[in-house]
């Protein structure tokens, strides 16, 4: 293990002081004089024709400055990959909550009053709420009859030609390796099941918000709680036909993302209202609106068929995934494809067949959430492994060990495995939970059980990052990046790497971000990519800056720049201890002789990417995979159906941990979110209407639902990646996938009942246990 001076150390987060003192600014902590507030009138129907809108009464209301309807928005469809949605619905609404009109007024109260004065006449249409039903050829409801005419924003292979047999399917993807039929013929045991994952919400504590205004140059500006300012700028530019450079997008600290806050909805509507009024406009979603009008994870059905030989070797796996995207495609085009990466990331499977479909329904909008399709796939795979182990009378840990991908193995989509700590992680969690000891005896209605599962998450390759590094004369190294500080700690990670490159204290590094006027291009913080991609760009930017510094220093010292190095703001020459010069002395002096005023390093990194072939195979489609495992001990109340997590451990490989404590933060956060998603959280809907869009009845875990102290552990497996920055990989998403299957495996261990559908809410568990008990009683 290489020793670094800053990298690998748990230095306090660079944003922590600002955050504990309340000084860290989020979007709504800024404001504008004469700012207007926008509110959205929303469809009460899951599917309806909009016959008539009359906003004349609302326009009379004092303080109302503009009202926009579908007819007032640019006559073009918008979207992330597939352009399938009008900014405000025209003619047809396809989910409960779809915008039909937007009011901008002097206050939020006036805007809300105005909504009550807009009369809309609808003709309700039949609706479909089940993804599998929507996928059928004979589905009576076709949400987008014009789908064959829709255009894609880029030429990714996952936008298929229209399929007349599946009129609601907007996206498909497939992977093929080996000979699946032969594989099943070789198998001694075939296990086939259906698994269902529900859609759950990111529940970022900061609600979605966007402020738009025109600046003094007449440029359209947006500051928002979101990710991906560069992509947003392009989308705004395209939507409103404004040149790129006439749009400025900004992002301050962001109060959580977890895969959300990437669609441009709020931002575009705020822009629309600013263009209509010429005034600053804030569109701040209520918590309720966040639940039904942003997007949650995709409700996903997974059919899986596994073939194993008698000694527990996986020989064939066939999977079919159906992802419900709600009424529009948004992120789901990516999620459809990327669930495949999660499906192949842990085990060696020589014969592999995988198909996934993105389907329109009239449900709440769905898309990416921490794992992009991986969690639903791994929820199925990791329960299958336990079922197979039981059938073969093998220990579930042993069965997994036998099939884990090893260094150098080619996985089922053709990529060579490198930096895999899965086996190590599995051993660590098994050890912590005392896997070989029986769980504590049950007491009364509480049944105790243990479960284990592996997890993985890839990082997509086809992206670019840029970083600027500016050397200031007063011992400040400024890092400018273009990704998103959503709480994951990217500023600290980049500061540590920059300090390491320049061999200076981390306190000398200042990190700025989030403004297309000054930050360099980056894709976004997504796909757990910032540490790797932005990190590698940062290292190149530092090298570039040092090259500039050394060039000047070499002249002044009369040496070869290749012999120079720097530490603590002094440049020195190897082998010539007397040849030293402080960096501050390299800047131009005050004698009006323009020598050097700026050292600005620029670094760019694009991950090698080879698009998949028609069988979903590629040598380089993911940058890497991160792996890990969870082991858990739960208690199930057979009277009430309550499930409580008593002890849990997560162990993960992230290459070199740049900041180990921050890696623990991710692992513990994944545990909290995982427990919420698979036990407590569930949308309750009635014909597409969300009945619990609030933190009261949509139950995310509080302090008492997640173990603390000695009952929880976050473990780091050190498996450096040869290509990563200091050997590091990303971690943000991997930490989620294996919580749910570990809990479900523990549930089986506790009760003897295997459940295939998330979440384990008390009433569902109670119902399932009662059904099973009845079936058992002759």
């Amino acid at each position: 293990m290489t020793e670094y001076s800053v990298v690998g150390k748990s230095i306090p987060r660079v944003d922590a002081f600002a955050k504990v003192t309340g000084r860290a600014k989020f979007t709504t902590d800024y404001s504008f004089p004469r700012m207007l507030f926008a509110k959205i009138l929303r469809s009460p129907y899951a599917h309806a024709r909009v016959l008539h809108i009359d906003s004349s009464r609302a326009k009379q209301l004092p303080g109302v400055r503009a009202i926009c309807e579908g007819k007032d928005v640019p006559d073009k469809l918008v979207g992330l990959m597939l352009l399938d949605q009008y900014l405000i619905a025209r003619d047809v609404v396809r989910y409960v909550g779809e915008p039909v009109a937007v009011v901008a007024a002097d206050s939020a109260e006036i805007a809300e009053d105005a909504l009550d004065l807009i009369d809309v006449e609808y003709e309700e249409l039949p609706a479909v709420f089940d993804g599998e039903q929507a996928m059928r050829q004979d589905c009576p409801v076709v949400l987008h009859p014009d789908l064959p005419k829709y255009k894609g924003i880029r030429s990714a292979g996952s936008l298929p030609p229209p399929d007349p047999d599946r009129p609601n399917v907007f996206s498909t993807w497939r992977i093929r390796q080996g000979d699946i039929d032969k594989g099943f013929q070789e198998a001694d045991l075939i296990v086939e099941n259906k698994y269902t994952s529900h859609g759950f919400n990111h529940c970022c504590l900061e609600p979605h918000v966007a402020d738009a205004w025109m600046d003094e140059e007449g440029r359209l500006c947006v500051r928002a709680s979101r990710r991906a300012i560069w992509r947003l700028r392009s989308i705004i530019s395209d939507t409103f036909d404004i040149p790129r450079s006439r749009v400025r997008t900004m992002e301050p600290y962001v109060g959580g993302a977890f895969g959300s806050k990437a669609t441009p909805r709020q931002d575009l509507i705020a822009c629309l209202m600013t263009l209509a009024t010429g005034r600053p406009v804030r569109l701040l979603l209520t918590r309720e609106e966040v639940f039904f009008d942003t997007y949650s994870s995709n409700p996903t059905v997974v059919y899986i068929k596994d073939g194993v030989t008698g000694d527990g070797t996986l020989v064939a796996r066939e999977m079919k995934l159906i992802l419900d995207s709600g009424a529009y495609s948004q992120h789901t085009v990516y999620v459809v494809r990327n669930g495949g990466f999660g499906s192949v990331g842990t085990y060696r499977v020589p014969n592999f067949k995988w198909d996934a479909y993105g389907v329109y329904t009239n449900n709440f909008l769905a898309g990416s959430l921490r794992g992009f399709g991986s969690p639903a796939a791994e929820f199925a795979i990791e329960q299958q492994m336990d079922i197979i182990a039981e059938e073969l009378a093998m220990d579930p840990v042993e069965l997994r060990q036998k099939n884990i991908l090893r260094e150098g193995d080619r996985n089922s989509m053709g990529m060579v495995t490198h930096s895999i700590g899965a086996e190590q992680c599995l051993a660590k969690v098994a050890d912590w939970i005392e896997w070989n000891n029986q769980p504590k005896a049950s007491s009364g209605p509480w049944k105790i059980g243990k479960g284990i599962a592996l997890g993985n998450k890839y990082t997509t390759a086809d992206t670019t990052s840029c970083v600027f590094v500016k050397v200031h004369p007063d011992r400040v190294l400024e890092v400018r990046h273009g990704v998103d500080p959503t709480g994951q700690g990217v500023n600290t990670v980049l500061a540590q790497m920059a300090a390491e490159e320049f061999r200076i204290p981390v306190e000398n590094v200042r990190v700025t971000w989030g403004d297309t006027d000054s930050s360099p291009y980056d894709r976004h913080s997504g796909s757990s990519r910032s540490t790797w991609n932005t990190g590698l760009a940062l290292i190149r930017a530092c090298q570039d800056a040092k090259r500039q510094v050394f060039a000047v220093a070499a002249t002044k010292l009369g040496v070869n720049p290749a012999d120079l190095e720097t530490k603590d703001w002094v440049v020195s020459c190897r082998g010539h201890p007397q040849k030293v010069i402080p960096i501050s002395d390299l800047f131009s002096s005050l004698r009006f002789v323009p020598t050097i005023a700026e050292f600005l390093g620029r670094g760019e990194y694009t991950c090698p990417f080879i698009p998949e072939d028609s069988n979903g195979q590629s040598e380089s489609v993911a940058a890497y995979w991160s792996h890990g495992a969870h082991a858990v001990e739960i208690a199930v109340n057979s009277d009430t159906g309550e499930v409580k997590v008593q002890r849990i451990v997560g162990a993960f490989d992230m290459g070199t941990p740049i900041n180990p404590k921050m890696c623990e933060q991710q692992i513990e956060g994944g545990i909290g979110m995982g427990i919420g998603g698979c036990i407590y959280e569930e949308f309750v809907t009635d014909r597409g209407r969300v009945l619990n869009p609030n933190f009261h009845d949509y139950r995310i875990p509080t302090t008492t639902e997640v173990p603390s102290g000695k009952n929880v552990s976050a473990v780091i497996a050190y498996v450096p990646h040869s290509q990563g920055p200091y050997g590091a990989k990303g971690l943000g998403e991997a930490v989620l996938s294996s919580v749910a299957p570990a809990v479900f495996n523990a549930f089986y261990n506790a009760t003897g009942v295997r459940l295939f559908e998330q979440p384990l809410t008390a009433e569902r568990v109670w119902r399932m246990l009662r059904k099973t008990n009845k079936a058992d009683t002759p």
Binding site: P12, D15, V20, F26, S31, G487, I671, G672
Partner: protein, 160 residues
């Protein structure tokens, strides 16, 4: 009809002209620019807007500002006068109890109210006391650790 109220905010008397329906959260943020008061749900469920009113934790989105007239209010800005951090703030930094930071001010103040009342809470008591403050980033593990650590520091300070 607007009315004048007087709040003693972080030790400073503030006279504010308010609308009767304004909540304390709105007044602290929009009138007094105390932006540490975060509004995550506006319905009293998430705890991000927690402030201390006469030493007790209160969700400021559900308290009419008029009802706080004449009372002592503490926000996180008031815990760290002259850059001297409260032991809770120090512990939140050192124990990595902060991620996105949106719940942090409310969480710290809720913990502050607990330690005011019970200087030596157990881990379980901390869990119970903080359950009205939601956090989505941390899984609460390091937050609870930080409160346990801060309690030690407070006790050392007070025994000196």
């Amino acid at each position: 009809m607007k009315q004048m109220i007087e709040l003693n905010v972080n030790g400073v008397k503030e006279e504010v002209l308010i609308e009767p329906w304004w909540t304390l959260a709105e007044v602290l943020r929009d009138q007094l620019n105390l932006m540490s008061v975060k509004v995550g749900c506006n319905k009293g469920d998430c705890g991000s807007c927690t402030v201390l009113v006469n030493g007790e934790a209160v969700k400021s989105c559900l308290l009419l500002a008029a009802k706080a007239n004449g009372k002592d209010i503490v926000t996180v800005e008031g815990l760290s006068m002259d850059d001297k951090l409260d032991p809770l703030q120090e512990a939140f930094i050192e124990h990595f109890a902060v991620q996105c930071g949106f719940c942090t001010p409310g969480m710290i103040l809720c913990a502050k109210a607990l330690l005011n009342e019970n200087p030596d809470p157990t881990e379980q008591e901390i869990r119970e006391a903080l359950r009205g403050n939601l956090c989505r980033c941390t899984g609460y593990v390091k937050i609870i650790e930080a409160v346990l650590a801060a309690k030690g520091r407070l006790n050392i300070r007070s025994s000196r």
